[in-house]
Symmetry: C2
């Protein structure tokens, strides 16, 4: 069995693949963008993931290529495939995660419930969309957006002029949502599928701040979200971890907001809160190994991101106080320099009472606020 | 706060420190004995731990030195201390773990219950010990023994001649024990102490085969074992993880068999079965950080060693079948070449019913038998 996994991108997602790779005795090799990357411990190459020669050289003797992010260009992916190197998720699936217009088209073809949307090429088309949707829209650049970047709420057609100058954009109805949810699943090439419990996510300024799993009071949504994610994973041929970000509307429907085809912030709680973490599951899935049990370890897990972190300091500087106050909270540092709003770590608390667990997780993360 | 930990020795114990170091954003540097060590991912140096210059160079810019094994010579430890490098556990404590005669003397001074023992210098003294203990004794070389090596049951005085030719040996009464137990604890330099649940260990041929935690039906032994380990940790000034291996005698007393001042096979279950693993705890303790919660995550955890492993194969070759049969068992490979009886990995199962969990763990480990 092949057991050498090449990961393109050296961010915290690649970093968090290292512990399960060490545990399972799998060899993880990372192509990082720079020498001081979050995943530098496993970096065997440093180079530009947009350069086909760099990527092909990195991938020459791995058993499978997977990703820390979705930004590897399609022509580079095509060359990997042409060279006979398994790429998981594959180029066709990744195309859907790389371009939000493609995503809406493909999800529409699968009959997945979504916000109303349109491809908008100019100010007039945006004005038309605004008029049809109560005067407000969420406008997104098709490519390159993340953590709130490339997303803007507009109420006048000229507010997207800068983006429209560069090409078409995606306009979506501004959904009146009760809350946001995330359904994390995994699928291996042979088709086996596993779903973690539906989670509730709290975004602040477009950035994930907090995740509660399982989502409280989800009732029938649990089955709906799972079925929706299964049909997306199957329909798009996703291999590895897939995160489906959802709106729960004021009238109780689920609408798909975003997709990510890799371990995702909404699943960081699984490291400490699930029998099989999303990072272990991703490694299993891309190697086409049988999937692990996604059952939760505790009645409730709450993950809180550390955004920015202590100014001019690393997370460990605050460990004496944080550890003393919270011996049962799990702390995760991405070994990144702090910048305001940058994800530099997270904490996870588990327990029985959702409110108490949430308070503990927030308090523990609070030790790292500047 | 210092956060660079130097580990002397590149075995599986150093390997299993990598995941918590990655999670916490601590830098782990390993001095390995050879390039293909189990902990090679974190190896920043390869060299002989008995050579002071090698060890001093390795340790020059770490914040603390700790160990994968107890074999670093005292003169090398003394030079580290003289160079101002924190060594945890310290040389005085390690001396007790390095020499079984010293251990018996020191534990005796602490009033810890032990098997009857004597320092034996020749055949006549051994004959005397045998006569006083029903004609049988366990003879141990003071140094260098592990996993059943350097330990022999003798019933005639001449059976230890070979060892006696090299110097004094330790003779111990052959304890009529009901079972073996292990009390795993951690202590940091500031004195804080934490104890995991008392575990039952099953040895086969002197090698740990299986660990059940918490030990079933332990009753009053739980408090006794904890108090005993606390007095040993405090009395010897141990820092880091301490494993106290115990006999439960047929008449219900606890006797100390062996000590280990590092993460220990009897604590591997804590990786998947405890809020804080012994490897994370060891890192916290040697950095003098507040200790983590040692509470179990499940009613019972069972760890089974993979001894030898698949002939001529690596553990991952058996993953397709093993994972499919046991999606909820956690598999650990040490990335070592298989040799009969060699510890090359372990599995841990958790659950509610001790017998069922034990059966699952044994069945999962069985996939790796040759």
């Amino acid at each position: 069995m092949g057991s050498v996994i090449g990961v393109i991108g050296g961010g915290q997602l690649a970093r968090m693949m290292i512990p399960p790779a060490v545990a399972l005795g799998l060899e993880l090799r990372v192509l990082a963008e720079n020498p001081g990357s979050s995943a530098s411990l496993a970096a065997t190459a440093v180079g530009d993931y947009r350069d086909a020669a760099t990527v092909l050289a990195f991938a020459a003797d791995v058993d499978v290529v997977t990703f820390d992010h979705e930004h590897v260009p399609q022509d580079v992916l095509a060359q990997l495939v042409a060279a006979g190197i398994p790429v998981r998720p594959g180029p066709e699936a990744l195309a859907v995660a790389q371009d939000k217009l493609v995503m809406r088209q493909r999800l529409g073809a699968l009959g997945v419930p979504m916000p109303d949307w349109a491809e908008v090429r100019d100010r007039a088309q945006l004005a038309e969309f605004l008029a049809a949707h109560g005067g407000a829209a969420v406008v997104k650049t098709p490519r390159g957006g993340y953590d709130g970047k490339g997303v803007r709420v507009v109420r006048a057609a000229e507010e997207a002029d800068d983006w429209l100058a560069a090409g078409p954009v995606l306009a979506e109805e501004l959904v009146d949502f009760r809350r946001e949810l995330a359904q994390l699943v995994a699928r291996r090439p042979s088709g086996e599928f596993a779903a973690w419990p539906l989670a509730e996510t709290v975004q602040v300024g477009g950035v994930c701040a907090e995740v509660v799993a399982p989502a409280p009071d989800a009732g029938a949504l649990i089955g709906e979200a799972r079925a929706m994610a299964a049909s997306i994973a199957e329909g798009l041929g996703v291999t590895g971890v897939l995160a489906v970000e959802l709106f729960e509307t004021a009238d109780g429907r689920l609408l798909v907001n975003e997709l990510a085809m890799r371990p995702h912030n909404s699943g960081h709680w699984t490291i400490d809160g699930s029998v099989t973490s999303q990072f272990e599951q991703h490694l299993r899935a891309v190697l086409d190994l049988p999937l692990g049990d996604p059952s939760p370890l505790a009645p409730v897990s709450v993950m809180v991101n550390v955004l920015g972190g202590p100014a001019g300091a690393q997370l460990p500087d605050r460990y004496p106080a944080a550890f003393a106050a919270h011996p049962d909270v799990k702390f995760h540092s991405y070994a990144k320099d702090s910048r305001p709003g940058r994800k530099v770590g997270h904490v996870t608390a588990t327990g029985a009472d959702p409110d108490a667990v949430r308070r503990r997780a927030r308090a523990a993360a609070g030790f790292f606020e500047s």
